[in-house]
């Protein structure tokens, strides 16, 4: 018997010479929403939008209807997906955002179909395949001032707060405390805090050092030295690499890895460089459900492919729930793998919530990798 089914339907009418009216419905076991959006055909700009609920899950969901208007003025151009996800998804409802993205895609295809029909009327021999091969949606007239609809820019959605600290996580006991997992802007597109500000905050807090682990980004040693000298603070380089098995923190590998790499291939490179690999937040769940709801046991989790290729597991991460951190710690125990801690800081106010305490002095990236291999550390809760 089916336990989940989602239908999405879209229809596009040409309601004026330069207007495409898109009607969309998203209907599944949990949510039922419909939207009507008018796009300009020339620029694929949203001219108006309205929505309606049929099924929802919290008493506050209906308020989302008032928050759809910031979509007016958005165009189908690079960045459209991210804008809709941020402004409509977070500011209103992710299901309306999902539907609006689908409607935008339908509007684009309708524009292509209409323009093909017009071209084929002039050139009856023109095949659809040949037309599509050369067609570009941005071959549109410039945005006319008369079509512009000015709306007040919505306040950017605030990021989710840090998760509550794991109450029984150990506190530092006099060792050297280093945050092993830090993101900075603009090196990590998902981060909002510049590195200078994060360093200042870390120093004020009393963290002894931090490792920048921007996503698939390698800082130059010159930049790091300049920042160390400027702030008089221990700044080291790492990397958070996207693998087919999830995010992996890598220390001691100075290589610019783009895209997604197979974890086994990354392992080979790290071994060659004598570096160190930590599986980052291995049980980070979804909005509502997590490993616990899936019925995943520690023994089953320990069998996962990802753990065959790492030297340690991040068991204290500032972006996951206490239960998820606790579960990661149990899996690390089961595998006899050491655990690390890091804030996974992306914005101000979050650095150092978790960190790793070393029993030896760390002054360089070589020191760090050596101490990690030697096991001279433990994960700690640092900031309340």
């Amino acid at each position: 018997m089916l336990k989940y089914l989602r239908n999405k339907t879209m229809s596009v009418d040409r309601t004026a010479p330069d207007e495409l009216t898109v009607f969309g419905v998203l209907d599944d076991d949990l949510y039922g929403v419909e939207m009507t959006a008018v796009f300009s055909q020339s620029a694929l700009e949203i001219l108006s939008v309205s929505g309606k609920w049929h099924r929802y899950t919290t008493p506050e969901c209906p308020r989302a209807l008032d928050m759809l208007q910031p979509a007016v003025g958005m165009r189908l151009e690079p960045g459209f997906r991210a804008r809709v996800a941020k402004v409509i998804g977070r500011g209103a409802c992710r299901h309306f955002a999902n539907l609006l993205l689908e409607m935008g895609h339908a509007a684009k295809n309708a524009k292509m179909a209409i323009e093909y029909q017009e071209a084929a009327a002039l050139d009856p021999g023109l095949s659809l395949e040949a037309f599509i091969a050369d067609w570009r949606p941005d071959q549109a007239p410039p945005k006319a001032a008369a079509q512009s609809i000015h709306v007040k820019a919505p306040a950017p959605p605030q990021p989710a707060p840090e998760t509550p600290p794991l109450a029984d996580a150990p506190r530092p006991s006099g060792g050297m405390v280093i945050d092993l997992h830090v993101h900075t802007a603009p090196a990590s597109p998902c981060a909002s805090a510049p590195i200078d500000e994060i360093i200042r905050e870390a120093k004020d807090l009393g963290v002894h050092g931090m490792v920048v682990t921007d996503h698939n980004y390698v800082w130059t040693s010159d930049d790091i030295k300049r920042l160390r000298d400027k702030h008089g603070f221990l700044l080291l380089r790492g990397n958070e690499v996207i693998t087919d098995q999830g995010d992996v923190l890598v220390y001691g590998l100075e290589r610019d890895i783009k895209g997604v790499i197979r974890i086994a291939d990354l392992r080979a490179q790290v071994i060659e460089a004598k570096g160190f690999m930590v599986m980052a937040h291995p049980f980070r769940g979804f909005l509502i459900t997590g490993a616990e709801q899936m019925g995943l046991s520690v023994e089953q989790a320990a069998q996962r492919e990802m753990f065959k290729h790492v030297d340690a597991i991040e068991v204290l991460n500032g972006k996951v729930t206490p239960d998820e951190n606790g579960f990661a710690a149990k899996v690390a125990d089961a595998l006899s793998l050491p655990g690390t801690g890091g804030s996974d800081c992306h914005e101000m106010g979050t650095i150092g919530c978790y960190a790793t305490e070393f029993t030896v002095d760390i002054n360089s990236e070589a020191d760090l990798v050596q101490a990690l291999h030697a096991g001279s550390y433990r994960p700690v809760r640092f900031r309340d």
């Binding site: 018997m1 089916l2 336990k3 989940y4 089914l5 989602r6 239908n7 999405k8 339907t9 879209m10 229809s11 596009v12 009418d13 040409r14 599944d28 076991d29 949990l30 899950t57 919290t58 008493p59 506050e60 989302a64 977070r90 209103a92 409802c93 992710r94 689908e102 339908a106 295809n109 309708a110 292509m112 179909a113 209409i114 659809l128 599509i132 959605p157 605030q158 990021p159 989710a160 707060p161 998760t163 509550p164 996207i242 087919d244 098995q245 999830g246 995010d247 895209g259 997604v260 980052a280 049980f283 980070r284 769940g285 979804f286 509502i288 459900t289 709801q293 019925g295 996962r304 729930t321």
Partner: protein
């Protein structure tokens, strides 16, 4: 008025006797006919089988979709899913139609597991009990905070939660 363009999409999750989930995703519109099927193994939610079939006007680069999609076999529906799926299916400039289809399949699996928890809350008798159930859900899943209008700071749901 004759409609200019029509699209239907459906995704369904079917538990099978062997404990796996079969996810079937189908798209039909004026230009494209496309089908993606995944087999997902709980509880790790590993994609153990992935197939794709396209017809009508197949977009450039997707002629070998049935082979390309095999690259998601072995991927777990879990942390970093979007980056991983978009990455293994060709990177940010790659096969967006195929990767978005796989991501919609994965989202359906997540919602399949989300449903039972929401059903428990819905079965409660009073509005106050249901509100408390939602608040308990937020407390146990802080990622919900500010994730949509229901969980913004000014929402009555968030009153007194101190998150």
């Amino acid at each position: 008025m004759i409609v200019k363009f029509l699209r239907n999409k459906v995704v369904e999750v079917e538990p099978r006797k062997d404990g796996t989930l079969r996810v079937s995703w189908r798209l039909t519109d004026d230009l494209l006919k496309m089908e993606v099927n995944l087999v997902v193994q709980p509880p790790a939610l590993e994609i153990i089988e992935a197939t794709a079939e396209l017809g009508r006007f197949v977009p450039k680069g997707l002629e070998d979709a049935s082979e390309i999609i095999e690259d998601v076999e072995g991927v777990n529906i879990g942390a970093g899913l979007r980056k991983i799926v978009r990455g293994v299916l060709g990177g940010p400039e790659g096969q967006s139609l195929l990767s978005e289809a796989v991501l919609e399949c994965c989202n359906a699996v997540i919602l399949h597991f989300t449903r039972p928890g929401l059903e428990i809350g819905e079965a409660l008798e009073t509005d106050e009990e249901r509100l408390e159930a939602v608040r308990a859900m937020v407390k146990s899943s802080p990622r919900l905070v500010r994730s949509c209008i229901s969980f913004q700071d000014d929402s009555p749901i968030m009153k007194g939660l101190d998150l």
